[in-house]
Symmetry: C2
Subunit: 184 residues, 2 copies
DNA sequence: ACGGTGAGAGAACGGTCGTTCTCTCGTGGG
DNA sequence: CCCACGAGAGAACGACCGTTCTCTCACCGT
């Protein structure tokens, strides 16, 4: 038998794939079971409910997002370049097969009204990203307001790319962000 | 008995309220029936399926969005002011009770992967708004690229306002848009 | 070698969904 | 006055959901 930690990871990764591709409510727990290859009994020993599993999936996505943003920023020198590197990260992501927008925005739209725990998880994720950007903006010696402006471009790029299937919006968002940084 | 046209309007308006507040899949057809006060049999005579009803709801929202944008622009003089008026429209909307983000983005995240018709309706709505903005941008004598930049701010403002419950992002998005118009 | 522990597979359960059907009853024409 | 029509209310239906339970069997210490 797999130990609890790796079983958890397997289930969360499988659920993430399915939830992201089809939406949460369109995926039954039987499908998660099949995708993960972990018995339903075990899944319910690891997660009290489907809602718990969704929260765990969002926690995974939060870590992946933070890692991706950090890795993209690694090659950049100035704070300004580290801010703009976020859009290079988006660019690569938008081009991935099966890109379907921001999992947090999608989950919020689907379940935010009925599940406070999921709504909170989404809010915390977005707040932590805004805080990260705020730190970079301050490092760059720019006014705080710029951070929110960049956040708006990042969010807008994600939803627009998802709906239009046009990965080029990442480049356009980057140019807009650069213009806003220059203007500030 | 209500004639077909008004019965249709009643059902679509009721479904819109419920779907927007709770998400589509969280609302059963019985709830639509209660909210509208129209018998289930009648609803299924007017709409072939729940999916048809969702498409009709999105069509209503498309018209309301176009009307709202046009009304906000009515008081503005220059093309530039008509572009920025979109954000005043957003500001008022974000402050409404029960604001829960863009119904199109929410529906797309929830059902876009499983219902091509809904995905198409969302895409068409977003494209028509981008085209509208593109026309204004050209009237203002600005490069086409600015239209997409403004679209990104509009989309970003909607999702961010929904998640953070902070209506002030409309003002911040307006300032960012003004800066981008100036820079172009 | 063997009995017990616990894991896996999937059936079962109660509930809800979208959709259709049945039954009742008010109404309008002859 | 009566009958046929159609509309309304809600039961019924089959499918599927999240969650739990049952049964089987492989594996372990002694």
């Amino acid at each position: 038998m797999l130990d609890d930690a790796t079983a958890r990871e397997t289930v969360v990764a499988a659920a993430d794939r399915l939830f992201y591709a089809r939406g949460v409510q369109s995926v039954g727990m039987d499908a998660v079971r099949s995708e993960a290859g972990v018995p339903l009994k075990r899944i319910y020993a690891l997660f009290r409910s489907k809602e718990d599993l969704v929260v765990a999936v969002l926690a995974l996505r939060t870590k992946q997002w933070a890692d991706g943003v950090e890795r993209a920023a690694a090659g950049a020198g100035s704070p300004r370049e580290r801010i703009l590197a976020v859009f290079d990260f988006l660019d690569a992501w938008f081009r991935e097969d099966g890109f379907r927008g921001c999992a947090f925005i999608n989950s919020f739209g689907e379940l935010g009204a009925t599940s406070p725990r999921i709504a909170d998880a989404v809010r915390e994720h977005k707040e932590s990203f805004r805080d990260h950007l705020l730190a970079l903006v301050r490092e760059a010696g720019l006014p705080d307001a710029v951070a929110v402006q960049v956040v708006l471009l990042v969010e807008g790029a994600q939803t627009t790319a998802a709906i239009t299937h046009d990965a080029d919006v990442a480049r356009q968002a980057r140019q807009a962000a650069a213009a806003l940084l220059d203007a500030a």
